[in-house]
Amino acid sequence: MDLLAFLKTRQEQDADLFLHRMFVADQSVVLAGFKSLIDLPQTMMLLQQQARNTVASERPLFALESGIGTCIRDADERRVMEAISEGDLILLPESVPLCIRIVPVNRTLTRAIEAPTTESVLRGPISAFNEDLDTNLGILKKLVVSPRLRTRSFWMGSDVRRHAVLVYMEGRIDPALLTAITQKIESNQETDVPDLMALTRLLGFPKWTLVTRYNTTELPQNAASALSKGKAVLLLDRFPFAIVLPSLLLDMFFADNDMNFPLFYAVSFRFLRMVGVLTNVLLPGLYVALVSVNPEVLRIEIALSIAGSRSEVPYPALVETLLLLLILELTLEASIRLPKTIGPTITMVGGIILGQAVVEAKLVSNILIIILAATTIANFAVIGFHNATTVRLGKYLILFLSAVYGLMGLFVGTVVLCAYIAKVSTFGIPYVYRWRARDRNG
């Protein structure tokens, strides 16, 4: 009974671990598990019930086929602890040297299925993923009712283990993509995955990049449609987002929810989002280029009115723009951190500062306010917060190039961004690729 001894010493260091002695059909057994994860009274009741049934049908209680649990073969300390930390119950009979792993009644440690908090749906299924992996998988399976759906389970990490499930549709996914993903996961299974950055490393993507190689979505609908298009979906335990591989440029513009509207609307929404991205990336640069380098391009009336509004601003347009952009970025960042109750405060303060006071104090021109407001609004027209972040940085490159080279810099910056986007690829699939759903089984 060295396992029991081990568990006892372990219990001294881990107050959460329980060792509960009880009789199951007249056999003395010890139950081990974590109090915080297992609902012990319920589990014991179930266990007794099962044992009674087994005895009634005159089968040996701890035989492998009796079915009260799975027997851990060659049970050593590591395996037992793994089973316990995964939330299972360990049953050690005192009469026979066995170690049985039982699926217990778990405590509810997950919130209920709720509406999404980071994406909103206007027309379409509203339930969102939550932290529980099995719940997420369940929602997904409800949406993709297909015999082609396949799941592969992985435990990642050595110190801190994390359950992950790879979901895909057989015959839809490109086998090369699937092999690439599974190989990466399997060969790096010992890597801990506390965050998505670690996942990025695990999947072999570069750390320093402007474009994330995967999309995250809170909406099961999006994950389901990605599956049916032949993409792979990775679900991590305790992560209320599905990770869709690979991410493509058009995912920024094409929401699956669009297809719940007539095609006219869908197309115009998508067009609007593209305009939004272009506005966000180009507008600050355009302002700086037109004001400080190429004012002759503008119509004389507009050029004069801009010059008039800037006449008392003491520094160059680049500094002016950077100053206000900094405040805007700070507002964005702060409003993520702020508790919901004082959220409106920052809106009001920000609105007053950015709207009126800063112009009256002659710190920036009022045209710049309009331009940056349009920029910020446009930024969030794209789908997904991670895509909005991707877009956010591009404008600074263009801003600096425009400040030096004027309109020329603006266009060259655009070409450089295009080239960068064109360079990015995920498992050999270019980011700018137009994904076509296809049936690979013929």
């Binding site: 380098v293 190429n294 002759e296 391009v297 503008l298 119509r299 004389i300 507009i302 190039l401 030096v404 080279y405 004027g406 309109l407 020329m408 810099g409 603006l410 266009f411 060259v412 655009t414 070409v415 450089v416 295009c418 080239a419 960068y420 986007i421 064109a422 360079k423 270019p430 700018v432």
Partner: protein
Amino acid sequence: MDKSSQVIAMYLLVHIGLIFFTYPADVIASLSVGHWSAILLGFACHFTLLGIYTKGLSRFASQNLIDIFRGTGKAFAVVLLFPVMAYLFMTMVVTVRVYAEIITVVFIGNTPIWSVMLLVVAVCALISSFGVESLFRTGVLVAILFLPLLLAVFILSFQNADWRYLLPLIDERSASFSYVFRRPYLLSQFAFAGGFVFLGFIPSYIPYERRKVVRASFLLLPLFLISVYIPLLTFGEDTAARFQFPFIMAVDTVDVSWLMFDRVTVFFMISLICFVLLYLSLAMWKTVLLLRSGIPLIRPVQANASLAAVLYIVCALIPDWESVERLLGWNLFLLAYVTMVIPLVTFLLGLRRERMGAARP
């Protein structure tokens, strides 16, 4: 997967970038009546050479020019390809210099030319270092973003056209093709010639259909015509001949009252310059490829960086516009070689290969 659209986009962009600056002036300088004959002649040559070149290439599936020439013998390849490299380098030098000059003159008078050249060379080196696949994809993205703008400008540019300037349609000089061997006409061939050599360097992982590319070349014909005839129709022959960049001047006359911008030209020119950037990146990529096939030890990044550095230094050493013109003149020989000899040799090698293939079933 067929990537013809990428190849076609690149082919079109490269040529559009080259057409609108010097080509109209050269054609207008080479004859005074019946410019269409010069344009059509040039285009016919271009089309024929393109056909021959791609026909030759199509016989060597999944091989590029370097592999093809190497297959015949190493010395043969070196002799044939060294001038190509020289041509590419010269073209890059001239193009960087010419366009930097245009940029400083037209948009940013206060910025010194060295910094403009630095931007151009650095951006080209960056794009070409990303590799040919992303270069082609960049081409498609740039085409999607900029071509609508260009199309609008083309439509607007007819605003001041006076169709009576079309006449007379022909005279003795244009009918007899006597202008063919004069310098302005030969210089005009730059717009036709330099662009399509890249088709031979496309690696096998960018498969394209030869027919589609050849067919797409017809899209260029209206652009060639527009580039010469818009200034002619706007100003008349006598005035148009006085401008260094007649097409740009013609677009400058366009006035759109509902637009917040006064000069549509600037956007037009910058788009063209962006296409030229792609052309330069492509040329740089080709040169690096040739360099590396000659010196296999050199690493791509090193090759790219050193080429960019040399290019920048050479560009900076050119003192004035006259030296640029002299360089352009020298480059004509190389140009003739690249546009005539390389396609013909490729075609003949293709024929030979086919014969050998037929003899050895």
